[in-house]
């Protein structure tokens, strides 16, 4: 069922910009249209690009926002996971709880 919803109506998570739009809904309570506009402005792309895995693979790679990893798409040396979340927080102008926690525990 998770897969069905993802294919039928989901933005695509980190395959696209689904996680970024989700963060604006979670942290700011933005409704979908506003959240998509906000993220598209920050990325310098169209709102349609936000759920286009082709476009977002390029944009995420260029901006170091983390990409899907598999045997044919490995990006050693490129930010992912916590590294990428530092960049996402800066790009979106939000505080990400785990990033703040990481800084605190790492003594940064």
């Amino acid at each position: 069922m998770d897969v069905t919803h993802a294919l039928a109506a989901g933005m695509g998570g980190i395959r696209t910009a689904g996680d970024l739009v989700a963060r604006m809904q979670m942290t700011r309570g933005m409704r979908l249209a506003e959240a998509k506009r906000y993220v598209a402005d920050k990325l310098g792309c169209t709102e349609r690009d936000l759920s286009d895995s082709y476009a977002m693979e390029q944009i995420r790679g260029e901006k170091g926002l983390g990409r899907i990893l598999d045997h044919s798409n490995l990006h050693p040396g490129e930010p992912n996971a916590m590294y990428a979340k530092f960049r996402i927080a800066e790009l979106l102008g939000i505080k990400i709880n785990s990033v703040e926690r990481f800084k605190e525990l790492a003594g940064i």
Binding site: H5, G10, A35, N97
Partner: protein, 364 residues
């Protein structure tokens, strides 16, 4: 002038002889069973459901063009359907993943890397705040580790489950035993005692998970034990919002209508018992939630077309007053998704498309 023969369709000729030749399309009942129905039968189901929902929830029925669009979605032979390119919405996947991939960390990675979920959720199989309280450090450690490994936001989810605070499972007297005896003051006192324990647990777990790095909290299946369950949750939401201004807080409901088990509880002057989705949304957003998830339970003996028409009618009034994202619950047995361990893809995808295209919802 020679009279032209009257042109009639096969259906009209059959109808004049009392026969129906309208083609039938495979569709689903609310329990997932596949049946065949004509377009006219599906139309009749949609009309009946939206009128019934409008009467019960005291809201307008779906517009004619919305009913027609629903009919087009459901009177299709396609095995799968989807929203238009660019119209995709955020998926907040409460209770997502399979729990069968080895560990919670692997499960979350799979949800992110393979399923493409937008909001991930860490949860325990004992999906209740009361139970999670006893294993909080274990869940905190998983959350902290998970946050190092995933990019997508991870919230923590569990259910309020107020009834677990009554005897024999909890400390308060059992109001479901007191109410049939007519001891209404005793039942209300027991409920109020349970609410105190419950809100403390919801806050204890929420603070623990947010301090461990969670991106948000999910109060899933809220109101399952009625208005007191809902009230206990709203109190916790308000506390968490004040203490963690940037945290995501999702309140997903248990049903379309808040049952008045206590009956007198109010949130800022608004009686909780009897609330439909629009009123539920209003108190949730005022309390500080950032995502609201309406739920409308499925009628297994009705078609999925009937069920989605009913659900969309009662949810639609939310969309006009929402200041926060609305993510209708489309799990098993709610909002047009059949009650079935393996919800059929044709029915699930139709429910998703209908929610997005009729409601213009913010997520699922």
């Amino acid at each position: 002038m020679t009279a032209q023969p009257t042109q009639t369709t096969a259906a009209e000729r059959d109808a004049s002889r009392g026969r129906i030749s309208e083609s039938r399309v495979p569709t689903r009942m609310g329990d997932g069973f596949m049946v065949e129905m004509t377009r006219s039968e599906l139309r009749a189901d949609i009309e009946e459901a939206t009128q019934l929902a409008a009467r019960k929830a005291k809201c307008p029925p779906l517009e004619a063009d919305e009913q027609e669009h629903l009919l087009d979605i459901y009177a299709s032979r396609a095995s799968f359907t989807a929203v238009d390119v660019g119209e995709q919405v955020v998926l907040s996947c409460d209770g997502g993943g399979s729990k069968m991939t080895g560990t919670d960390l692997q499960d979350l990675l799979e949800s992110e890397q393979r399923f493409g979920q937008d909001i991930l959720e860490l949860w325990h199989i004992e999906y209740s705040y009361k139970a999670i309280k006893t294993i909080l450090p274990f869940q905190q450690q998983i959350m902290q580790n998970a946050q190092l490994l995933v990019t997508a936001p991870v919230q923590y989810g569990a259910q309020p489950n107020l009834a677990f605070y009554s005897k024999p499972d909890g400390p308060a007297d059992n109001w479901f035993e007191l109410l049939p005896r007519g001891d209404i003051p005793g039942a209300r006192a027991a409920i109020e005692e349970a609410m105190e324990y419950a809100t403390k647990d919801f806050i204890f777990v929420s603070e623990g998970m947010l301090d461990a790095g969670a991106d948000g909290m999910d109060f899933d299946t809220t109101g399952g034990a009625g208005d007191a369950d809902f009230f206990s949750t709203l109190r916790a939401v308000k506390h968490v919002r004040e203490k963690y201004p940037e945290a995501g807080i999702e309140v997903g409901m248990a049903g379309e209508f808040v049952i008045g088990v206590h009956g007198e509880l109010e949130w800022e002057g608004r009686r909780l018992a009897g609330m439909w989705p629009r009123q539920q949304l209003e108190v949730c957003q005022d309390a500080g939630a950032t995502i609201y998830g309406p739920a409308v339970n499925i009628r297994t003996t009705k078609s999925c077309a009937w069920n989605i028409a009913y659900a969309l009618t009662v949810i639609k009034p939310c969309m006009e007053v929402a200041r926060i994202p609305v993510h209708p619950n489309v799990g098993e047995g709610v909002v047009g998704v059949p009650v079935n361990g393996y919800p059929p893809e044709d029915a699930v995808s139709r429910a998703a498309k209908a929610c997005v295209e009729i409601l213009r919802c913010d997520g699922l």
